[in-house]
Amino acid sequence: MPMPIEALEAALREGFPDARIEVDDLAGDGDHYRARIVSSAFKGLPRVKQHQLVYAALKGRMGGELHALALETSAPA
């Protein structure tokens, strides 16, 4: 169940309007992505919480429509 990269980017932008977001399609199959997200929303949060915020922004599509999304999250320096 692939998800187009545009849909993934749009969902992340909506969830993190202030963020710097880079999405790569790792396998070229629309099913294995890596997202790098730098957002002030992550400030002071442990990694588990940071990734939970991203999953929340994807509204349940992670683990379903989206099989693999490697995440690198951080707050701006």
Partner: protein, 115 residues
């Protein structure tokens, strides 16, 4: 865990499993034969660190596979728990391993790590 007992048997099974085993990995497949690259990566990191752990194959049970996602509000597998606490999935464990944080975290938790 701080969660109170519930009437959900799957939740209770998971709560007991993470309380009973200092290091437990919910994964696809078993440590010797992982059935997913992400599960394999975490198992390999634990093996490299010489950590003794229990692997639970979520593919053996659909209720478990769904239940573990609810348990820590985490939509993917693998999931690593140390001393009852959810540590993270593949990305977080890998990042912690690469920075050396995983080794020191396990040390702090009193989990034996190979030199």
């Amino acid at each position: 865990m701080t969660e109170a007992a519930t009437t959900d048997p799957v939740h209770d099974f998971i709560a007991k499993a993470v309380a009973d085993h200092p290091v437990i990995l919910f994964m696809k497949g078993v440590p010797d034969q992982p059935r997913c690259g992400f599960s394999a990566a975490v198992a390999q990191i634990l093996d490299t660190l010489g950590v003794e752990y229990v692997g639970v194959d979520v593919l053996q049970s659909e209720p478990l596979r769904e239940g573990i996602k609810r348990f820590s509000d985490w939509p993917t597998i693998p999931q690593l728990y140390v001393k009852g606490e959810f540590v993270g999935g593949c990305d977080i464990v890998r990042e912690m391993y690469q920075t050396g944080e995983l080794r020191s975290f396990l040390d702090q938790q009193g989990v034996a790590v190979a030199e």
